[in-house]
Subunit: 199 residues, 2 copies
């Protein structure tokens, strides 16, 4: 099977979304580390791949995809079993709801809190903590009577949402109050092929 190149940064939860899904779906990735601390993502060689100057980026031959959610959609539809992103309109919409939450609310809640605490980004920590509380409370209620976020089986929606929720404690946000979220995380961590972020 061919290998696809993932431009990666180890501690990035957005990159981990892709590595996690690829591991669960059995898709081999060739990992290329991008030196964010050294500013490699702002150099012309990288901005030609992604003008947003962000990892992850996927390269599959001539095809280049940026944005972690878009990479999940591409890999799922081209190389994975259809269960990960089923083709019917309602399943697609259910998955899309959680890809949006991952790109917006989870990013600006727990992910931003972690950027401040762990990487000293100049963002508003209190705002990120307040948003995290709203996000985690809403997701916990959603998961109270569901096994997976979007569908009856694990999907790319779970792979998109899991990393920055699991990493929330690195942003000073405890997951202790959220029983349903912790049970959902345990289900993901028990899936065959699961890899933690540091692997």
């Amino acid at each position: 099977m061919a290998q696809y190149v993932l431009y990666n940064c180890g501690p990035s939860g957005n990159c981990y979304k892709v590595r996690l899904f690829a591991a669960l779906a059995g898709i081999p990735l060739k990992i290329l580390e991008v030196d964010l601390a050294g500013g490699e993502h702002r150099q012309p060689a990288f901005t030609a791949l992604n003008p947003w100057q962000q990892v992850p980026v996927l390269q599959d031959g001539e095809i280049v995809i940026w944005d972690s959610q878009a990479i999940l959609v591409y890999l799922a539809e081209r190389y994975a079993e259809p269960e990960w992103c089923p083709p019917d309109p309602l399943s697609r919409a259910r998955v899309m709801q959680w890809l949006s939450v991952s790109a917006n609310e989870i990013q600006h809640g727990p992910a931003d809190a972690r950027l401040v605490r762990k990487f000293a980004y100049p963002l508003n920590y209190d705002h990120a903590v307040r948003l995290s509380s709203h996000v985690l409370t809403t997701i916990d209620a959603h998961l109270a009577d569901r096994e997976w976020l979007a569908l009856h089986l694990p999907s790319i929606a779970d792979c998109a949402a899991y990393p920055y929720i699991a990493l929330a404690p690195e942003g000073g946000i405890s997951l202790e109050p959220y029983d349903a979220i912790r049970a959902w995380m345990a289900r993901i961590e028990a899936l065959p092929g699961y890899v933690p972020i540091g692997s």
Copy 2:
């Protein structure tokens, strides 16, 4: 043709994404106004539809979809010509890239700036203006040699990105420096069925 119910708020750019796409694709919508000023979105009848307490929400019989991007995916795949969201993996990924940008960068740049200026939301205006400059500069460069954001024809990606870019001046952000964006906006506004936000 059946009508689908859109829970709507007139000035919301996220609701306008759906009204614009439905108008362009010829999908009839029954519009129900939600009284955000009166807090209707925080009442149990509404939060049962959308626990995120946000408009838009689409109701199609028993099916309820929240999140503007997810509603675009659902309507396009169920009721529109395939050109609006083509089924091949690469097209899906290209569209998804711009749905993520619409949910994240455009939302927290020009849309947040407008929330502060027009609706007095307690957000960081300077941060929104800085992000807007980055977002609009990046999109303008992307559109310099393209007619549409994601594909060779207009897609739901254009419908997702257009509203809060077109509304940027209401947030105090001029579009004057962005020639390619203004040309793209004119192409959207010339599409058969186009409706402005206030229609």
